[in-house]
Amino acid sequence: MRYSILTLARNALSYHENWPRAWRSPAPRPEYDVVIIGGGGHGLATAYYLARNHGITNVAVLEKGYLGGGNTGRNTTIVRSNYYLDANAHFYEHSLKLWEGLSADLNFNVMFSQRGVLNLAHSYADLDAYARRGNAMRLNGTDAELLTREEVQRMVPLLDCSETARYPVIGGLLQRRGGTARHDAVAWGYARGADARGVDIIQQCEVVGLRRSGNRIEGIETTRGHIRAKKIGLAVAGHSGHLAAMAGLRLPIETHVLQALVSEPVKPILDTVVTSGAVHFYVSQSDKGEIVMGGDLDGYNSYGQRSNLPPIEHVIQSLIALFPCFSRLRMLRTWGGVMDMSMDGSPVIGRTPVENLYVNCGWCYGGFKATPASGWCFAHTIANDAPHPLNAAYTLDRYTLGRTLDEKGGGPFPWVH
């Protein structure tokens, strides 16, 4: 059923009690052309684009819990494409362009709001680095504006830009086309679109083993039985290492926990996304009115999808230092998600040494904004056995070949990215 003003009016007459389910819940069939493991945004987007762009519809998406219950529902919903390296710039810019048309394409409101993403500069070194990044972005066709302190203050009146601020603000880099989106809606919209094209979305179906025979995966052992597939795509974020180990592979990935928290909802007060790389802090306001914020990783290997106090304390301290007016806000909720931290801070979308196994991982803490392009490129790679030009640099063998994509020049330490 296509959603429109007419279907809305028709269903209003029956008090919205007769809306059909947005997707089916089929039992798994014994064999598929393609099985995508992981029913988050990336996996569902991959299934959607396999059907939409490549006509491959004998596809299943296996999800161990419920759709979007992993990192898709745990991120802080920020969308941006402010990358320096060419490969990343083109990939994330394609993603942002897909975001700009996503609600219309999916016929599902993902509530994409281009309210801008503002990176604060706290030192002249910061400002120089942002000028360099902004220039690189503009050369790659992405929008970027370097702001003075006065322009930052006009844009975000609540921010402490005074001379005596704990973290003095001397300018910023603004991407106006960046913003936020409703994270659950992205999973639901892609699920509905994939389902309408014939994809089976199978929830409560955990993969417990991959049966490898020679250089192929012959079958997938799940909690709902054995499933065969000609091609298998992994899109399981923080659990990539865990699933790859079932196929006998080691990945350039460490899994770390990242936390976020929200305050009680308040009236509209902050109309952009504010981030500070130097302080390791970012904040925005959700459409429900909550102040949404996050900071850095806890800093040690963890699959525990829950929060721990020290990083929360750091986030709150940063919030109060930058926005003193928020000091009396009460916190409503904290949570954690587990991140697939890659060794160069950039993702992997590509083939593996196992012939029919494809991997999509290494999103660090930036996977949400990549969702559309990730699905687009992963679907292309699976359909054609070759990467799309946009993910040609995101190969698994780039670490061996010395072609790492290190935005920060930080070296092989997953917890610094």
Partner: protein, 90 residues
């Protein structure tokens, strides 16, 4: 709050420690003799287990010694802690 049992100082808050990563990654004796794959494997690849994990921590805001901790990455329970350099029984 996660506590780590320092062999010298007793159980201490994890914020006193600096994480040193996977203790299983041992620098090869003769890097020049390795292939690119073997070197990349040492530098970049990790077992990244969901469960018991051997890792290094430095008690940087305490006695400043390095310790080797066997910790469950799912539950955060510490299974064993010993001075770094002392080989684990496993």
């Amino acid at each position: 709050m996660m506590l780590l049992p320092c062999p010298w100082c007793g159980p201490r808050n994890c914020t006193e420690f600096t994480y040193g990563g996977d203790a299983g990654a041992r620098r090869p004796q003769n890097p020049d003799a390795l292939t690119d794959e073997e070197w990349a494997s040492y530098v970049y690849l990790r077992d990244n287990p969901r469960g018991p994990h051997d890792e290094l921590w430095q008690h940087s805001a305490g006695c400043r010694r390095w310790i080797r901790v066997r910790r469950d990455t799912l539950t955060h329970d510490v299974i064993e802690a010993a001075p770094a350099g002392a080989r684990s029984a496993g």
